[in-house]
Symmetry: C2
């Protein structure tokens, strides 16, 4: 699998001129990485080809049984023109965790990082350089056997596509309003919650729509069994600072093991801030909020990095956190993590990987 | 949306010669039905076109977020050459239930039945006629917006593909061995269990693989909350006859409302056999099995119609049902339902729909 062939496009697209108004997830670069898997043969034919539609059989299993996994990470351009990735090995490790749950053959993380480097070098002029912008990277695997009947596929595509994306907070870090979901469930222990796979997101659409109607940005999921333990938010993990101690839900099979979550925990420990991974009930949060001990709350994820939470709505209860303002800890974490990602800060925990 | 255009293939495939050895889900006919949805415009451009690969953008939402629903039904050829569908309006009603859960715009069931009739007439020579064979029909909807970011898509394809399939029991009705799953969970109340959507099947692959390794055909799912209530089997609903009374799990949001299940209940009532829809624990099943009161157990679904269960394995416990033989009630139901489907029996409840 050593060779990665490259076929360059003959019709390059116009790159977006206005980096101040890049949308998220709508503009794709000129090339993509593609690789096939066939039973008996393994992963093969690694190649960089022009971005374009894939001919997919209407019976392809992914379209019926959602045998699919994905990842999401970003490449950042530094002021001196280098391109950095943030802990990419973690994404490919997690992809193999998802693969395992979905009965998809594993991929070699080292090879994937090599392929990703090569793809990004081909597309290096697509990495935006305005402060806060980045190149969003979407590796994904889909089951393509044309077969009706539930079983793991014998053929897969592994694909990487790239998207220049704008600053998540063009007007500065605005705290979000979150709706605690008590009706719908995203996933449950024994299910696929710890995997990054389409079905979990499909399950979330309806609740998200209803939250939007009430002008909440995202939903906070509760566990599917007792409906009282806090799990995660849309596409973010969640943290609370209670009386100075930072707490976040423990990983127990139903939530995604976020890489920003992991980095946040590691950075807090590095700073000496007390942090606990444990089960947290929504009642506990409501109680400490009432008592004035909920210092801050924030979400963590690749897209927004740190997203301060200004309000939580749980049934009839509205909890306003830190007067709806961003708190000092959220701010420090945001500045530090993004500073490391864009190469403006030192990187004491060796998280960045330079593309070259 | 009145017009359905037809473009016939110029390269018809060879039809399978040997109807004794038709596989399930691997052979597709010459044409498919296709229709687009665009926000603002609704469903449009209904057309029958040659079967073939769809050009799908690698960013199409279905490949990432599994926003997809499907249905499954069959067309049967009668001895006098007519083609019958079995309660097709139920499938399109259920598809709209799935659509609602997945934030997909509804379709008009009457129009879909018209489209299906037209497609089957184009493909009428593909409907096999050997006893027990049929034409499997797979309507499905996929989200095709090229967009990364979790939200409902603005564009969809509705597609119908067709598969000639063999007799499910070429050597006669053989009872299956079923493995009671205690580790993995398929779905939970508040989730998508009642919808026919890819994510539910993706979640089931791993458990099914492990059951196969132990030489069990399928898994019997327990509820995701208390892990003690019986839900359904792989792609079948489940029934037990206990001391003469037939019981089946009530529909409470986490299991699929099977059309064969519904028809089984209606036929039992028509016959005057007592039938209950209620919650059933696996302990209750084990207990009545021990006491010798578990007369029969069977699965119901479009593929196998009635599938007698000869053994249930639950942890260390093996429950052999009716000495591993098909029981009289399962047999009567199988003969009656399949007799109606293939037009050999009278159809007292008016379930069949002739394609013309
Ligand atoms: C469900 C879910 N939880 C959490 C996260 C945060 O993970 P990460 O920090 O790796 O982006 C994401 C986004 O990737 C997600 O989709
Ligand atoms: C999960 C599940 N349960 C039950 C069934 C049985 O439903 P039906 O009788 O409509 O085929 C199916 C198959 O369609 C299924 O996929």
């Amino acid at each position: 699998m050593a060779e990665i062939s490259v076929e360059l496009t003959k019709t390059p697209k116009k790159k977006p001129q206005d980096e101040h108004h890049l949308p998220f997830g709508d503009i794709f670069t000129d090339h993509m990485f593609l690789m096939d898997y066939d039973e008996g043969q393994g992963w093969h034919d690694a190649r960089i080809v022009p971005y374009g539609p894939l001919p997919i059989d209407p019976a392809a299993m992914v379209l019926h049984y959602a045998q699919e996994v994905f990842e999401g990470l970003k490449a950042y351009k530094t002021q001196d023109g280098r391109i950095l990735l943030f802990r990419p090995e973690e994404n490919f490790k997690r992809m193999n965790v998802s693969n395992e749950r979905l009965c998809i053959p594993p991929i070699d993380p080292a090879f994937m990082i090599e392929a990703l480097n090569k793809l990004i070098l081909v597309e290096k002029d697509w990495v935006p350089s305005l402060e806060g912008t980045s190149l969003y990277i979407r590796p994904f695997i889909i089951a393509t056997d044309p077969h009706l009947g539930v079983r793991p596929s014998h053929h897969y595509y592994f694909i990487v596509i790239l998207c220049p994306v704008g600053a998540y907070y063009p007007e500065g870090l605005n705290p979000v309003k979150i709706y605690v979901e008590t009706n719908y469930v995203r996933t449950v222990k024994g299910g696929m919650g710890f995997a990054k796979t389409g079905g979990n997101y499909a399950a979330s659409l309806k609740a998200q729509d209803e939250a939007h109607e009430q002008e909440y940005t995202q939903v906070l999921w509760l566990d599917g069994v007792e409906r009282k333990y806090v799990e995660e938010v849309g596409t973010m993990n969640v943290f609370f600072q209670i009386n100075g101690t930072v707490v976040t839900p423990a990983l127990q099979g139903s939530i995604l093991s976020g890489i920003t979550r992991k980095s946040t925990i590691e950075m807090l420990r590095y700073w000496g801030v007390p942090v606990e991974e444990r089960r947290i009930t929504i009642d506990e949060i409501a109680q400490v909020a009432d008592e004035g001990h909920l210092d801050e709350a924030f979400g963590t994820g690749t897209a927004a990095v740190i997203s301060p939470i200004g309000e939580l709505k749980w049934g009839e209860k509205h909890m306003v956190i830190n007067s709806g303002e961003i708190g000092p800890l959220s701010h420090r974490l945001y500045d530090t993590l993004t500073g490391i990602q864009w190469g403006k800060h030192p990187d004491p925990l060796h998280w960045t990987h330079e593309v070259k």
